[in-house]
């Protein structure tokens, strides 16, 4: 990546070489030599802490340059060899790149929060250069602007609502209907037929009036009562048909719509489950869940209640217009006159109305969250005797809600009145102009009445199309967000060329493994470690030292960035993922339990196990005794996240689950902490049974856990600081020794204050 020479300044090799405007180019040319390779060349969006303006940061192989503002502004040059470190300092609403160096110039660059992710990467990259490492830059940053229209995206790497490929999305949505295409076709035909049939009754009424009841020229009266009966019979028949069509249509609509939506949800859920953890890291849980709920709801409503009516409503409008023109072209044109004003007026008021509805929903959610808070926090409120104040707060929210409800209702009224006013104009036209034509005997009474009916029928689909568009946009945005997840590459569960292995021995070998969650921010550096089958390793270090990261790599939640990690001598990437994970057991501090029976929770990793095996595992985990004391014993439902059990009980169930699973590699993540001593002893005993004969990695802060480990691996800042047995490390008087010392001092201190503290090692961290 170090080949962007100045000779080709506009050649963009990495995302961190941006092309500067000519002014900046000239300023740069004046202070750099021909043969200095440009490594980083990026713009910031602030000029000092003062104004929004573009400033430039350029790093060449020789020097670091900061150009404040593009045309004028000062130039700061720092030779790279005098730079000691670069820090991206987080400020409020922005950040600052501090260049620390041995000179006396002031080298800082301010940027807004928009560019903070970029400069965090840049700081890491410059530090690599300073340390003499090779430059590794991320190849892409999260997109903040839409690549097509340049609009700022509402969510990083998200979907631009303005640029949704509507046809593409529609095509994919329709793809979910494809399996039910015959029913869907019948549905469309029925809906259209329904629309057409609904046009018939006013026409029949016209004939009843004109030919039977009030013929303009009495001599044309032909049928009398018999014709009346016939026409009313037709009316009845038409209504019956409409009724049948409506019943069948609704039934088909729900049948097809719900199935299609169900298929979409199924696809979404299964791809959510198989997504690599890396993907979930980048997004908030809330945003993933909202795709499952809100977005699929949007799509559901669209598929069920909008899409089926597009065709029929078009047909309806066209049919009415044709009929009106057919009956009396001149009157029809007059009657259609108010339509454009109605569309314009309603779209104007519509915006205002939506504003109030949005406000209403915000206030409503505020009210309900206050309600929620004051009910779940009722103990605190009562303990501090604040019922009255909560009541007053509620009153304020309630009043706010009432205010906005009134405004919303008022504008809805205005909206309603205005549209009705214009609609009634159509009626006025019909009565006046139609009436005049009637008087001149150019029009018959029945036709006049039919005109009125059709007019009323016309406005409904027109209004529907107004709402339809805005809703379609939102539904499509939801659909795109769903498709984005469905399309995301899943974990390579059954990669070709990977062999399913029956049982592994459990030798785990790290060979100069380096890893970073983000490229450029390395968290593990050159880790070398060979673990024998059946060995127990204790992982020690301050938080952030890389203990959990090491374990994430063993589970292959992430792939190593450099080096190799192998199990039984086979690179972990060549093992089939399912095989690997079925051989790994995980017991962590917050053991997650599913809202199911105790039996099912213990059986989670091995669904085929019989009840005898479950019993044996529970006994081995010292869980049996407390389970049988429960009213429902093994059939007890543990509640959401196991909330009906105590912490110690949950842990013992997790241990039982791991024992039944019988993994070759066991991971204990702070498995025993914050528990009372008798419970802890039981858990320790259970863990000892579990650990026997398995390769074990235990993250622990407690000395008691660590003493039983064969070797301790002490991590410091992503590097292995020390490896050895407990006694060895104490004798060596190094990093571990100091941790233990600090801990003992703290324990002594706490003991003198008669505070019972757990024996933890984190006390030595800061």
């Amino acid at each position: 990546m170090q080949n962007t020479l100045k000779a080709t300044p506009h050649q963009v090799d990495t995302i961190f070489i941006e092309s500067p405007p000519p002014v900046v180019r000239t300023r740069l040319d004046a202070i750099t030599s021909e043969h200095e390779p440009v490594l980083i060349q990026v713009a910031a969006d602030m000029d000092g802490p003062g104004r929004y303006a573009r400033s430039w940061l350029v790093v060449t192989a020789e020097q670091l340059i900061i150009l404040e503002t593009e045309a004028t502004g000062s130039t700061v040059q720092v030779p790279l060899r005098t730079v000691t470190a670069v820090r991206a300092e987080a400020l409020v609403g922005g950040g600052r790149l501090d260049v620390e160096h041995r000179g006396s110039t002031w080298a800082q660059l301010y940027y807004s929060n928009t560019l903070a992710p970029k400069f965090a990467e840049i700081a890491a990259a410059i530090n690599q250069l300073v340390r003499g490492e090779s430059l590794s830059l991320p190849t892409r940053l999260e997109a903040t602007r839409c690549a097509r229209c340049g609009r700022i995206l509402p969510e990083k790497d998200g979907v631009c609502p303005a640029c949704i490929r509507r046809w593409e999305t529609l095509r994919r949505l329709l793809g979910y209907i494809a399996p039910y295409r015959w029913r869907a076709l019948v549905l469309v035909l029925l809906t259209s037929a329904g629309s057409l049939v609904s046009l018939v009754p006013p026409y029949v009424v016209k004939h009843i009036v004109d030919d039977v009841l009030a013929p303009v020229r009495p001599e044309t009266q032909t049928g009398g009562v018999r014709l009346l009966a016939l026409l009313v019979g037709v009316l009845l028949g038409v209504n019956l048909t409409m009724w049948v069509i409506e019943v069948v249509r609704r039934w088909l609509n729900t049948w097809v719509g719900f199935r299609a939506v169900e298929d979409i949800r199924k696809a979404l859920f299964s791809s959510l489950q198989f997504l690599p953890l890396r993907y979930a890291d980048k997004r908030k849980v809330g945003s993933l869940i909202s795709r499952m709920t809100n977005d699929s709801d949007l799509v559901e409503i669209y598929m069920l209640f909008d899409l089926p009516f597009v065709f029929s409503n078009i047909l309806m409008i066209a049919g009415i217009v044709v009929l009106l023109l057919h009956m009396n072209a001149r009157l029809a044109l007059l009657v259609l006159l108010p339509v454009p004003p109605i569309i314009i007026a309603s779209s104007l008021i519509w915006n205002r109305l939506q504003l109030y509805w949005r406000r209403w929903s915000t206030r409503w959610s505020r009210l309900s969250s206050h309600l929620n808070e004051s009910i779940s926090g009722i103990r605190v409120i009562k303990a501090f005797a604040q019922e009255q104040r909560e009541g007053r707060r509620f009153e304020v929210h309630n009043r706010d809600l009432q205010d906005v409800s009134v405004s919303a209702e008022r504008s809805w009224l205005v909206f309603f009145m205005v549209t009705n006013f214009f609609v009634s104009f159509g009626t006025f036209f019909v009565w006046y102009f139609g009436g005049r034509q009637l008087l001149r005997q150019e029009l018959e009474l029945g036709a006049l009445m039919a005109f009125n009916f059709y007019l009323m029928m016309l406005y409904r689909p027109l209004k529907w199309f107004g709402d339809f568009y805005s809703f379609m946009v939102r539904a499509f945005a939801g659909a795109e967000r769903i498709f984005e997840i469905i399309d995301a590459p899943s974990e390579p569960y059954d990669r070709t060329g990977t062999e399913p292995v029956a049982v592994i021995d459990g030798r785990v070998t790290f060979q100069s493994v380096s890893f970073g969650y983000d490229p450029g921010k390395i968290v593990l550096h050159d880790v070398d470690l060979d673990v024998r089958p059946g060995e127990m390793i204790g992982l020690v270090g301050c938080s952030g030292a890389g203990k959990s990261t090491l374990i994430n790599l063993i589970c292959r939640f992430y792939d190593v960035s450099r080096g190799s990690l192998s199990i039984d001598g086979v690179d972990i990437r060549d093992l089939r993922l399912e095989t690997l994970r079925s051989q790994i057991g995980l017991v962590s501090q917050q053991s997650f339990l599913f809202n199911d029976t105790i039996t099912e929770n213990i059986r989670y990793g091995s669904p085929d196990a019989g009840f005898q095996d479950v019993l044996r595992a529970a006994r081995a985990a010292n869980a049996h005794e407390f389970i049988v004391r429960k009213a429902d014993g093994y059939d007890m439902i543990v509640g959401e996240g196991g909330n009906k059990l105590s912490g110690g009980e949950k842990q013992r169930l997790a241990i039982a689950r791991a024992i039944l699973h019988d993994p070759r590699i066991l991971i204990l993540d702070e498995a025993t902490s914050s528990l009372d001593t008798p419970t802890e002893r039981k858990i320790q005993e259970a863990i000892r049974r579990l650990v026997a004969g398995r390769t074990t990695f235990a993250i622990a802060h407690r000395l008691s856990t660590l003493r039983s480990a064969d070797r301790l691996v002490v991590l410091d800042n992503g590097r292995i600081a020390e490896i050895g047995s407990h006694a060895d490390l104490l004798a060596r008087q190094g990093f571990f020794y100091n941790l233990v010392r600090t801990q003992q001092v703290n324990t002594a201190m706490m003991a003198s204050h008669s505070v019972a503290g757990p024996q933890t090692l984190t006390a030595g961290c800061w």
Binding site: P49, Y52, G94, W106, P154, L355, R358
Partner: protein, 190 residues
């Protein structure tokens, strides 16, 4: 009454007459109360802030932060050391001498990159997201606020804080002071 100074918190002594039992006042000893007149700030080297408590000790890489940036921007200014531990607190900027005050002010300006909105040029609300173009005291800026209900905070009746999708902050100190057009535009979405 209880004085919340961050340095020393003393609650009133509560006497219960029947028993004669006295509840000892709670005192916080860290960080210790520092006389603001002893505070000397320097830029040494120019990009780092050094603090000397006269006649006592010295700190380098000092950070100046507001304890309550929204409700008390000119009071309760904390000075932090390189490890972000509090050295001392300045209760009111006015207590400082001219020179120190201007230095503290400069440091605060460098830390709080919130922009003050001077004029609203356009606001569009599309698809539940609002797109803003505004003139601020730092110049023109475009930004996007998602979910206005959560990201537009009213601090008092007239003061408004907007937080955009990237976490940039835009403040309107008094909405009433803006021109009519700006207010009308803002009302469309708020």
């Amino acid at each position: 009454m209880t004085e919340t100074r961050g340095v020393k918190m003393s609650s009133n002594t509560i006497d219960t007459p029947e028993s004669g039992f006295t509840v000892a006042p709670i005192t916080v000893t860290h960080p210790e109360k520092v006389d603001v007149r002893a505070i000397r700030l320097f830029r040494d080297p120019p990009w780092l802030l050094r603090l000397t408590l006269e006649g006592d000790r010295s700190y380098t890489r000092v950070k100046v932060v507001r304890a309550a940036p929204l409700s008390h921007p000119d009071h309760f200014i904390a000075l932090l050391d390189a490890r972000d531990e509090e050295i001392c607190m300045i209760d009111a900027l006015d207590d400082l001498d001219e020179e120190t005050r201007s230095l503290v002010g400069e440091e605060l300006d460098r830390r709080y990159l919130t922009s003050r909105i001077v004029r609203v040029l356009s606001v569009r609300n599309e698809f539940g997201t609002s797109y803003w173009t505004v003139d601020t005291h730092r110049g023109r800026r475009e930004f996007v606020v998602q979910n206005v209900g959560e990201n537009a905070l009213w601090l008092g009746d007239h003061r408004l804080l907007l937080i955009d999708v990237d976490g940039n902050r835009f403040e309107v100190p008094r909405v009433d002071d803006l021109d009519k057009r700006s207010v009308a535009l803002m009302e469309q979405v708020l």
